[in-house]
């Protein structure tokens, strides 16, 4: 089946010049003190399959323009997806009319002038060129392998995107970033319903996605996880595969707001006032950064207000080095504004998964975690469950498949209870998504609180 490649090109990816010209066109219409124009959009295509057959597949193109006008500390914005001259002019007039009515925001910050941004090579032509036939073929790799095994059901999802975002104002600010994305996740279940395995791959470059490897891993885990038996809940040494580490550790990103810490309502608040910057908070082998330019991350180099997002070190050798400062809070506290991270990477060690297993007398190997929800913000304590491949390790070997377990744990606790650190890798299926690179970890005293019957 050969589907035409670009049958539907209504919303391609804006080039830098097109974005600049569109933004200038809107800025010229402004009669307010300030205007900021954000544009963004592109194509997103996908295919879903389940029970060894295709279920739904789609192609979406959209393009959104957000126009924010300001008079002093009064601001208002209007977001539309109609880019005709008439609609854009109406949106500008509307945002101005509304800005005059809006209450003053005492925390509003002056418009940014021109900034320097890194050029992040996150756009891959081969990803932008992926066709419906290419996606179907990638899905067939898993479906055919599951069918061939005879007693397996494959359910998966492939999503491919290409887009651009840009922003500008009256003060010379202009930022542009384009990117592609490709994500493949796969769950393989055994027909008797007793085994389930998961695997995934994610990269801006479609050619880095290996459907055969994804299928092979998910199938192996499904077969290995058949007929699980129960272990008593309690404290265990765990070997967390990178995906499981990511599911929990990246949730720290939601707690790194400097202001909440300074206000006394965060895990990073210091008793008596202030925050914990400069204090050792986790094991000294832990260093966590964000860096849009890192070739494993390739994230946006600016935030929605045009603030440049560069490399930031959040935790270095176990010491909290920085928290996330908005422009307003940075000015208040005489700190550098950091914006909020668009990526996360934990620098690794060199232990392999095999070494972690071989060195474990009794422990639990965890493929991934599921349905994580915060239980106590004072400690970043989360609850959730293991899923799609949970195994008992005894005497240096995987001894059997075990039933899934609920945990109540904090990323701060597990990063304090480190035994071994693996090599970091890019994750595909974390609940929060985004550009995340983390290693496998071996951790002692992981707190499992109950058993689940779920497969």
């Amino acid at each position: 089946m050969s589907a035409p490649r670009r049958l539907f090109a209504a919303d391609g990816v804006l080039t830098r010049a097109e974005a600049q010209s569109l933004i200038e066109r809107v800025v010229k219409l402004s009669q307010a003190d300030e205007i900021q124009v954000n544009v963004g959009g592109g194509m997103q295509t996908n295919v879903r399959f389940a029970d060894n057959r295709m279920s739904t597949a789609g192609s979406v193109s959209n393009f959104v323009v957000t126009i924010q006008s300001s008079y002093g500390k009064r601001s208002a914005a209007v977001q539309v997806n109609d880019t005709s001259d008439a609609a854009l002019e109406a949106a500008v007039r509307q945002s101005e009319a509304l800005a005059r009515l809006a209450p003053e925001n005492p925390e509003s910050m002056p418009a940014l002038g021109a900034q320097q941004y890194q050029e992040v090579p996150a756009y891959f032509e081969r990803t932008a060129g992926v066709s419906a036939a290419d996606r179907a073929a990638a899905a067939r790799v898993a479906i055919d392998a599951a069918k061939k095994a005879g007693d397996l059901q494959a359910a998966g999802y492939i999503q491919v995107g290409a887009g651009a975002s840009a922003l500008g104002n009256k003060r010379g600010l202009f930022a542009y970033h384009r990117s592609t994305s490709a994500n493949y996740t796969l769950t393989v279940r055994t027909s008797d319903g007793t085994g389930s395995g998961w695997a995934g791959a994610d990269h801006p470059d479609w050619s880095q996605i290996d459907p055969a490897e994804v299928a092979e891993t998910a199938i192996r885990k499904a077969q290995l996880s058949r007929n699980p038996s129960a272990v008593e809940p309690g404290r265990y040494t765990v070997i967390l595969e990178p995906q499981a580490v990511g599911d929990l550790v990246q949730l720290m990103g939601f707690a790194i707001d400097a202001r909440s810490a300074d206000e006394g309502r965060s895990a990073f608040s210091k008793a008596g006032g202030g925050n914990k910057i400069g204090e050792k908070i986790v094991d000294e082998r832990v260093t966590i950064i964000s860096d849009p330019m890192d070739p494993d991350l390739l994230a946006a180099p600016f935030d929605g207000q045009g603030l440049p997002i560069g490399r930031q070190v959040w935790i270095e050798n176990g010491v909290l080095k920085n928290l996330a400062y908005s422009r307003f809070w940075a000015e208040r506290k005489n700190a550098q504004p950091t914006g909020f991270p668009s990526s996360m990477k934990m620098l690794g060690g060199d232990a392999s998964l095999e070494q972690m297993i071989a060195s474990t007398q009794r422990g639990i190997l965890v493929t991934r975690l599921w349905y994580l929800r915060q239980v106590d913000p004072r400690t970043i304590l989360y609850t959730g469950l293991t899923r799609d491949g949970t195994f008992l390790v005894e005497n240096g070997k995987i001894s059997r498949s075990i039933r899934n377990l609920r945990f109540n744990e904090s990323p701060l606790f597990i990063l304090n209870n480190l035994e071994m650190v693996g090599r970091p890798q890019r994750l595909a299926g974390t609940e929060a998504g985004g550009n995340v690179v983390l290693p496998a970890l071996k951790v002692r005293d992981f707190n499992f609180t109950s058993l689940s019957d779920a497969v």
Partner: protein
């Protein structure tokens, strides 16, 4: 469940908003991340006749391309959010977008495409794209998609229950109400921070399919989330009270009726009282659960596992499957709870977040029992899914037809099975909250929804809450903190031994329920009555290391 993927990408304000309000839902943070804005918007809404012309052009093009069935939707989606903290505005977000989504069934395989280009050429291209995708995805020999028959509804309209359109209310009035409520909450000594917001959604939906249906609908949903934080004098502890007002499929009048200004001080005092509350002792307790809390337990442990697509494995790669499977082993056989337990699915209770005139398959939804006298009797279905249960409906002398549970978040999303309102019906005795507490010797009463987590087959769950009271000898004797209960779904519901009557029947709701890939949110209400559960496992979440 709710996806966090989207808002991580939205950057600064989103992360800041979440960090500041840990119990708020992530999608709220997403909405807050929109830039400050106002309430009136410049999109020219399509006239009904114009929408119909484009819809028919799309489905005609799909048919010409070889589709045996096609449908098209034009949605105009308006969202408005106003966010405040203490005595200042944080942001006002407003968006207004529209477009068309077209779905084509070709040779038993689906294809879908969506475009914002609302011209005859634009929608025709989208229809051809949908057909091409369907053809690319055909697997020889795969069983074809078959749709249950449904009547055609030609040129019908429907409007949800609202009297005041929130999009007509000036921004000053919304901000004023929030700041007054914040000020009242701050009057409780010890309250240091208040975040409050308003969210409004207005959907103008037009639908047509090749069976002859042409349907136009207008829906409004409203919510006022508020989160109050008390910090101890030595900064060693903080506690919050949130989720105070439930979302509803109603207009601005609904938020006024909830009287946030009149109630805020009481909510603030509850946050302060939590600082001094006694940490719960772990163990087994009888739980008395208020509808403001129980709705979420119903949502997670009854409504999600009785979605037929989950039971059939269609959501295995994301939200998961279901313990209520396979259908042949569960329908008419699974004892979900005691005989007093009756659970219905509906999309017609007034003010329900899932209430609608016609679903996104063009079906007029019906009210149906999911659990009758404690026994599981039906799943939530769409036109594609009802035929999976033809053997069951034949045995029950019922027609094979959809329950009307098809929904797509916007024109950009393909429709699939989503929850109707799923509700626990009142018991025969008209008793209420106080009566059940008076009948309880040793227990914990829980008000408001808190932390929630459940496994991918909906067996093992853990729920927190907002406010917890210790019950001794039929009386509330004081407040507890750090309470969460863990449960196994069938055991939990079978431990229910008292339920309230009609006078205590009230709704709770989720504004942002997530499902599917790519993840789509919907909104759904769950009515219930105060209910008692025996001997439930309670843990203490106040761990320090």
């Amino acid at each position: 469940m709710t996806s966090r993927r989207d808002f991580l990408r939205t950057g600064a304000l989103a992360a800041g908003a979440l960090a500041a309000r840990p119990v708020f839902d992530s999608a709220e943070a997403l909405a807050l991340s929109l830039p400050p804005s106002g309430t009136v918007v410049p999109v020219e809404p399509l006239a009904q006749a114009q929408a119909k012309e484009l819809l028919l052009a799309a489905i005609d093009a799909a048919k010409a391309g070889g589709a045996s069935f096609a449908d098209a939707r034009i949605n105009r989606a308006r969202n408005n959010s106003v966010a405040t903290r203490e005595q200042q505005i944080v942001g006002v977000g407003d968006s207004d977008t529209q477009g068309l989504g077209v779905r084509a069934l070709v040779d038993g395989t689906w294809g879908f495409a969506a475009t914002r280009e609302l011209t005859r050429d634009g929608v025709t291209r989208a229809a051809r794209e949908a057909v091409a995708i369907a053809k690319a995805n055909k697997i020889p020999g795969a069983p074809p998609v078959v749709l249950a028959p449904a009547p055609a509804y030609t040129d019908v309209t429907w409007k949800s229950a609202y009297t005041t359109d929130p999009f007509e209310i000036p921004i000053e009035q919304k901000v004023d109400l929030l700041l007054k409520a914040n000020a009242e909450a701050m009057k409780a000594t010890g309250v240091r921070f208040v975040n409050s917001a308003m969210f409004f959604v207005k959907e103008e939906k037009h639908y047509a399919n090749t069976d002859g249906s042409v349907i136009s609908q207008t829906l409004i949903r409203s919510w006022l989330p508020m989160n109050i934080t008390a910090v101890s004098a030595d900064m060693s502890d903080f506690q919050t009270r949130g989720n105070v007002i439930q979302p509803a499929g109603r207009g601005f009048e609904y938020l006024l009726l909830q009287d946030p200004v009149g109630n805020a001080r009481k909510w603030g005092e509850e946050a302060v009282e939590k600082l001094k509350a006694k940490p719960v002792e772990v163990g087994r307790y009888d739980l008395v659960l208020h509808p403001s809390h129980l709705w979420l337990t119903i949502h997670e442990s009854i409504a999600h596992p009785t979605e037929l697509d989950r039971a059939m494995g269609y959501e295995a790669n994301y939200a998961g499957t279901s313990f209520v499977a396979p259908p042949r082993e569960k329908l008419g056989k699974l004892k979900y709870g005691p005989a007093m337990m009756n659970v219905i699915g509906d999309r017609d209770q007034e003010g329900g977040c899932s209430t609608v005139g016609y679903d996104d398959d063009g079906v007029k939804p019906e009210r149906f029992h999911i659990i009758k006298d404690g026994i599981f009797v039906d799943y939530q279905t769409t036109r594609e899914q009802a035929p999976f249960l033809d053997w069951w409906y034949a045995s029950q002398n019922k027609p094979v037809q959809s329950h009307g549970c098809s929904y797509a978040q916007t024109w950009q999303h393909v429709q699939f099975q989503r929850m109707p309102n799923v509700s626990l019906l009142p018991g025969e005795r008209d008793i209420g909250w106080d009566d059940i507490i008076a009948a309880t010797d040793r227990g914990i009463a829980i008000i408001g929804d808190g932390s929630f987590s459940i496994d991918q087959q909906r067996y093992n769950a853990q729920f927190g809450g907002q406010v917890f009271y210790e019950i001794r000898g039929g009386k509330i004797v004081g407040m507890l903190k750090d309470v969460a209960y863990q449960m196994r779904t069938p055991d939990f519901w079978n431990s229910m031994d008292m339920i309230g009557g009609r006078k205590s029947y009230e709704p709770g709701a989720s504004f942002f329920d997530g499902k599917g890939q790519p993840s789509q949110v919907n909104a759904v209400s769950h009515w219930s009555v105060p209910s008692r559960f025996r001997n439930v496992n309670v843990i203490n979440t106040g761990r320090k290391s």
